[in-house]
């Protein structure tokens, strides 16, 4: 009997097969591996020409800074970007998946993607996984219907707002927004306000730090300002340079480069087969 050629569609959703085993292991004293969380400050606001998204760049693994300069503003479509807080792997995977689905959707419809489409795809995915996909997102973009800004929570609920903050530094950033936001901000004012809100998260929240990333989306154009501000520079070398104390006599100087430069000889003997 020959097998059926047509592929059966995969059964989706979370597979609960290993949950009992995991519980048993925990009871027997196994320490669960910790996952990389982005204790984060992410913000978004709507200004007169579109949407500005902002994020810090610190990724933490418990009390350790795992990545000092990670990218938290993810590409969804040419006119839609998404900031992600929560488990880094979850935000990365979920935004990549929805980005692919939107590309296919664009080919099928022949139209520019809409923010509400991304919103619906994201929220239904997160709801299906009942909050186990730990991704809290700030989704923003400009489409034919205008600029849009949404927040999405790990269990799948969403809000539509003119200004929004998420992550562990959200209260610090929201304090800035609540006192300084007004409608019809210009681009410079908007970028300055977003940078100020992120800086407030960077300096007042332990889970956020390093640099400020900003993404400005307007009709037909987007500007990804990676490391727009670096308020936490690292100085590795003393500017004064190295000098010996006065009593030392310098006999000879030899500088050995630690990286070997390899000279490639063109047309060398090929290895025998």
């Amino acid at each position: 009997m020959t097998k059926e050629a047509i592929d059966m569609p995969q059964k989706g959703g979370f597979s609960f097969d290993l949950c009992k085993r995991n519980d048993m292991l925990l009871q027997n004293g196994l320490k669960m591996p910790s996952f990389l969380k982005t204790g984060t400050t992410i913000v978004g606001l709507i200004f007169q020409d579109g949407v500005i998204l902002g994020a810090d760049t610190r990724a933490t693994e418990g009390p350790i800074v795992a990545d000092k300069n990670c990218e938290k503003i993810h590409y969804i479509a040419p006119n839609i970007y998404c900031c992600g807080a929560g488990t880094a792997a979850d935000t990365e995977a979920v935004t990549d998946m929805i980005s692919s689905q939107l590309t296919l959707h664009r080919y099928h419809t022949g139209r520019e993607s809409r923010v509400v489409t991304a919103l619906s795809l994201l929220k239904s995915h997160l709801f299906n996984y009942q909050g186990h996909v730990s991704a809290a997102l700030v989704l923003g973009g400009v489409d034919v219907t205008g600029p849009h800004l949404h927040t999405i929570y790990p269990h799948g609920s969403t809000d539509t707002l003119p200004y929004a903050t998420m992550g562990s530094g959200s209260l610090a950033a929201m304090a800035i927004f609540e006192s300084k936001y007004r409608e019809g901000l210009s681009r410079e004012e908007g970028v300055a306000l977003v940078a100020e809100a992120i800086r407030s998260g960077i300096f007042n929240d332990l889970g956020s730090g390093s640099n400020v990333d900003i993404c400005v989306i307007t009709k037909g154009q987007k500007e990804y300002l990676r490391n727009h501000m670096t308020p936490n520079p690292r100085t590795y070398v003393s500017e004064k340079g190295y000098s010996f104390s006065k009593k030392t006599e310098l006999l000879s100087t030899k500088i050995t480069p630690l990286r070997e430069t390899v000279v490639v000889i063109e047309g060398g003997d090929a290895m025998e087969e």
Binding site: E4, A5, D96, S100, T103, L104
Partner: protein
Amino acid sequence: MARYDRAITVFSPDGHLFQVEYALEAVRKGNAVVGVRGSDNVVLGVEKKSTPKLQDSRSVRKIVNLDDHIALACAGLKADARVLVNKARIECQSHKLTVEDPASVEYITRYIAGLQQKYTQSGGVRPFGLSTLIIGFDPYSGVPALYQTDPSGTFSAWKANATGRNSNSIREFLEKNYKETSGQETVKLAIRALLEVVESGGKNIEVAVMTREHGLRQLEEAEIDAIVAEIEAEKAAAEAAKKAPSKET
């Protein structure tokens, strides 16, 4: 479901797969498609059989995108084409998600050819009745590529090729007149090849150019008309030049 296990594509006593050969017949009845690879672009041209007056021609796109850097045109059963194109588009995205790299033209061609072959060796299905011409740029080396697949599932790379109606005459023309071209010259060569078998006029041809920077661009009817006019003028000038010396003798 036991009734659907029997294969439809079986060998004949002298080693032919008749279903595949019949599928190739279907391709030969389809509209002409030509593809030409230039040094910095790749061009696809498709014959548009007379469109009924009431039909909205924009809904019948013959040259489609598989990804930002890969496009496809085909000759044969258009309904089969839709299914194949959808699967290929999903595969392009899947490749990007799993391997973090856009698929190369060869990879997607191999995938489509593999699909076409699977349907010649399975129970209860018939082969896809179409041959495709796949164009694109390698995502990293930027080298342009043109591939062809057919219902049997074979694929190969070409500098220029044609499939569908009268593909043999177009291929002969291309073999005689092919040279390394770039930019507008490649477009002209593709249109000249297509004009060998198609009545001239922008209404009957659909042309798309893929470049590394701008991806796939469909040419407007007016643009095609302008190029066709150029080609006719060149042909007329060549004819006149041929006649003039013979008159003198």
